[in-house]
C-alpha cells in the first residue's frame, strides 16, 4: 500500500519520459482510476456487466457543479453531495436492473443511462443546461461563500479551503482520494463480503441454496460502484467546473469496460493499468502528427522514411482508436487476464531466470507500473 501511494504520488516524475507529466492528463489518470476501481467492484467481483455507469459519472458532475453554483466553491461539499446523489441514482437503477442477470441486466442499465443522457439534453435542460453544458456564472448565489466574503471580480475558481484545485494541486488532491478509495476496494476484495460477491459470480444458484439472499449483496456492490463513479464525476467537476451531458453517453460506459478488461478484470491493479493505457493513447497518441513521425524516422533514407510515415500515421493521430482496438483484440484473444496477466507472466519468467543465475530478486509494483506504461507506447 505504501509503495502504491508513493508510485501514484510520484507520477509527475516518472511519467516525464513518456511525455505525460502535465497536470491535465495526470488528473485524468487518477480520476478515471477512481471510476475504474469502482467499476471493477461490480464487474470484477460479481461479473455483472453494467453499461450504465457513465450515468453516475454525469450525475456526480452535475451535482458538483450545482454545489459550486449554489453553495460554495469549496470542493468538499461538492464531492460529498455528488457521491450521495449518485448513490441514490444507483439504488434506483440497481433495484430495477438487478431483477435480471446477464445480457438483460446489461441492457437495462444501458437503457437507464441512455434515458438519463437524453433527458439531460431535453426535458431536464433547466438543470443540465442542455448542449452548452452546465457552467459557473457570476450571478450564481453561492450561499455559503457569501456568508464570508463579497463576490469578487470575474469567475471564482474551485478550492479546497483556499488551495486552488486546478493544475498540480488538483492532481494531488485527486491522487490522495484515489489512494483512499483504492484502499477501501482492497478491503472489500479481502473481506467476506468480497468473497461472497466472488461466489455469486461463480455460481449464484449455489449461493441461494446455501441460504444467501443474493439481491442485497448485488445491490450494495452496485451502489458502491455507482458511488465510486459519482465520486469520479465530482472530481472531474472539481478540477474543471463544467458538466456536459456527453459524459453520460454509453460510449463513456463502454470506455470504463474497455479499461477494466484491458487492464485485468477482477484484479486490484488491472483497472488502473487499463486507465493509464487508454488515457495515454487518447491524449498522447492522438496528438502525434505527420511532422513528429518525419522527425522520428529522420535517420532512414527518404523513400523508406515516407513509407514508414504513411504506414504509422494510420495508427497515430486520428487513428489512435485503431491502435487501441488492435491492442484490445490482442489482449482479449491472448491474455484474458488483461495486461496485468501479461506483466505477471513476464515477471515470473524474469524471476525464474534470475533464480537460475543465483541472483536475488528485487522487483516491486513500481517497476510493474513502469512496464505497464511501456506497454502503452
Amino acid at each position: 500500500m505504501a509503495i502504491f501511494s508513493v508510485v501514484v504520488l510520484t507520477m509527475p516524475l516518472w511519467m516525464q519520459p513518456f511525455g505525460a507529466a502535465y497536470p491535465d492528463i495526470l488528473q485524468k489518470f487518477v480520476i478515471f482510476g477512481v471510476f475504474a476501481i469502482g467499476y471493477n467492484i461490480l464487474f470484477g467481483l460479481t461479473g455483472y456487466l453494467s453499461f450504465g455507469h457513465a450515468a453516475f459519472l454525469g450525475v456526480g458532475s452535475y451535482t458538483a457543479v450545482w454545489s459550486f453554483k449554489l453553495l460554495t466553491m469549496n470542493i468538499v461539499p461538492a464531492i460529498i453531495l455528488s457521491v450521495v446523489m449518485s448513490g441514490i441514482f444507483a439504488v434506483a437503477m440497481g433495484y430495477v436492473a438487478l431483477r435480471r442477470s446477464g445480457i438483460y441486466f446489461s441492457i437495462l442499465t444501458l437503457a437507464f443511462a441512455q434515458m438519463c443522457y437524453n433527458l439531460a439534453y431535453s426535458v431536464l435542460t433547466p438543470i443540465t443546461n442542455g448542449e452548452t453544458g452546465l457552467q459557473l456564472a457570476k450571478s450564481d448565489p453561492r450561499i455559503i461563500d457569501r456568508l464570508f466574503s463579497e463576490a469578487g471580480e470575474g469567475l471564482p475558481s474551485t478550492t479546497l479551503f483556499g488551495i486552488e484545485t486546478s493544475g498540480y494541486s488538483g492532481f494531488y488532491i485527486s491522487a490522495v482520494i484515489m489512494i483512499i478509495v483504492f484502499y477501501i476496494s482492497l478491503k472489500i476484495f479481502n473481506s467476506s463480503f468480497g468473497l461472497k460477491l466472488k461466489a455469486i459470480k461463480a455460481n449464484q444458484n449455489r449461493m441461494r441454496y446455501l441460504g444467501f439472499n443474493t439481491k442485497p449483496y448485488l445491490l450494495s456492490a452496485f451502489v458502491i460502484s455507482g458511488m465510486y463513479a459519482g465520486l469520479a464525476g465530482g472530481l472531474l467537476a472539481a478540477t474543471d467546473p463544467l458538466a456536459g451531458a456527453e459524459r453520460m453517453q454509453w460510449t463513456a460506459s463502454g470506455e470504463v469496460i474497455l479499461m477494466t478488461i484491458l487492464g485485468g478484470v477482477g484484479t486490484l491493479f488491472g483497472p488502473l493499468l487499463g486507465v493509464i493505457i487508454i488515457k495515454y493513447f487518447e491524449n498522447i497518441f492522438s496528438a502525434v502528427n505527420q511532422l513528429d513521425l518525419h522527425s522520428l524516422y529522420a535517420i532512414f533514407p527518404a523513400w523508406l522514411e515516407n513509407s514508414l510515415v504513411a504506414i504509422s500515421s494510420l495508427f497515430v493521430g486520428e487513428g489512435w482508436h485503431m491502435t487501441l482496438g488492435l491492442l484490445f483484440m490482442f489482449v482479449v484473444a491472448f491474455l484474458p487476464g488483461g495486461v496485468l496477466e501479461g506483466l505477471q507472466l513476464i515477471y515470473k519468467k524474469i524471476k525464474t531466470r534470475l533464480i537460475k543465475n543465483n541472483k536475488s530478486t528485487g522487483t516491486d509494483t513500481d517497476t510493474k507500473q513502469e512496464t505497464g506504461a511501456n506497454h502503452g507506447e
Binding site: S191, S192, K196, N203, Y209, L210, N213, P216
Partner: protein, 254 residues
C-alpha cells in the same frame, strides 16, 4: 422409529405441460432416519427434491418442514431453516479454492440474510475457518486446501459439495444420486463417509440408483413411479415386494 416427522409432503401435484411429474404425492420423513427414494427414470425423484428446496413451487399441495409450512418460500429462506441439498451434478464455486468453497456456507450460518456485519474482514472469522477446516479434514480434502475447485476430479467435487452442505449442520440433508458416475473405489469411500454422518443422527433423504448404496445405508425406502409413492417399507421389505419388481422391470415405465 415412529418419532416426529421432519418433512411432510402432502398431496403435492406438479405438472409440466400435460405431464404430471408429481401426482398427489404424499411422503413423510421421520427425524433421524436415512430415507432412500428409488424409482425408474422419469419417476419424479428430482422434481420432488426441487419442490422441497423451493426451486419449484407445487401446483397444489403443501410441504411442511419442522412443523411449519414452507411451500412457496424462496430457496434461501428454506435453506436457512435447515435443508441442504447435494445436487446430481456438483454445484460448487469452480473459480474459488476449496477452503473458500467451504467457508462461504459456514458464513451463511452467520449472515445469510444480508447484514453490514458481512463487510467484516475475513481474518477475524477464525471460528468460521475452524469449522470449515474440520469438515474438510473429515472429507480427506485437506491436502488440496488452496487448489481451484473447478480443477478437481468429479469424485472430489462431490465430496466438496457434501462438505459445503455438512458445514451448515442442516436438520435435513437431501442427496441426489451421491454416487452416480463414480468409480467403485470412490463409491465405497462415499458410502463410508455417509455412514459416518449417519452416526450423527442427521436426517437424510437419498435418491439413488445403486441398490448396494441403498441397502447399506437406508432405514426406510420409498419407491416412486409415475409421480406417486407406490411402496414404502424397510429395505428388506422393498427387496421382496412384487410391486417394486414390476415397476423396475416394466409396465410402470413412462
Amino acid at each position: 422409529m415412529g418419532s416426529k416427522a421432519v418433512l411432510q409432503v402432502t398431496n403435492v401435484l406438479k405438472t409440466f405441460g400435460g405431464l404430471k411429474a408429481l401426482n398427489n404425492l404424499n411422503l413423510t420423513i421421520e427425524e433421524g432416519t436415512v430415507h432412500a427414494i428409488i424409482g425408474p427414470n422419469g419417476a419424479g425423484k428430482s422434481t420432488l427434491l426441487n419442490v422441497c428446496i423451493g426451486q419449484l413451487t407445487p401446483d397444489t399441495g403443501s410441504v411442511e418442514f419442522d412443523g411449519k409450512n414452507i411451500t412457496g418460500l424462496e430457496p434461501h429462506e428454506i435453506s436457512q431453516r435447515g435443508i441442504s441439498r447435494v445436487f446430481q451434478t456438483p454445484q460448487i464455486f469452480e473459480e474459488l479454492d476449496i477452503l473458500q468453497n467451504v467457508m462461504i456456507p459456514a458464513l451463511a450460518h452467520l449472515d445469510g440474510q444480508f447484514t453490514f456485519n458481512a463487510v467484516k474482514d475475513l481474518r477475524h472469522r477464525d471460528d468460521v475457518k475452524r469449522a470449515a477446516m474440520e469438515i474438510i479434514e473429515q472429507m480427506n480434502l485437506a491436502d488440496q486446501l488452496h487448489d481451484r475447485a473447478g480443477a478437481m476430479s468429479r469424485g472430489n467435487k462431490r465430496r466438496l459439495e457434501l462438505a459445503m452442505c455438512l458445514v451448515q449442520k442442516p436438520k435435513l440433508l437431501l442427496l441426489d444420486e451421491p454416487t452416480a458416475g463414480m468409480a467403485r473405489a470412490d463409491t465405497n469411500q462415499t458410502i463410508e463417509i455417509l455412514k459416518k454422518i449417519k452416526a450423527t443422527g442427521m436426517t437424510k433423504v437419498i435418491i439413488e440408483h445403486d441398490m448396494n448404496v441403498v441397502f447399506s445405508l437406508a432405514d426406510r425406502v420409498s419407491v416412486l413411479a409415475q409421480g406417486t409413492i407406490i411402496a414404502e417399507g424397510t429395505p428388506a421389505e422393498i427387496r421382496e415386494s412384487e410391486i417394486v419388481k414390476e415397476a423396475y422391470l416394466g409396465g410402470a415405465k413412462i
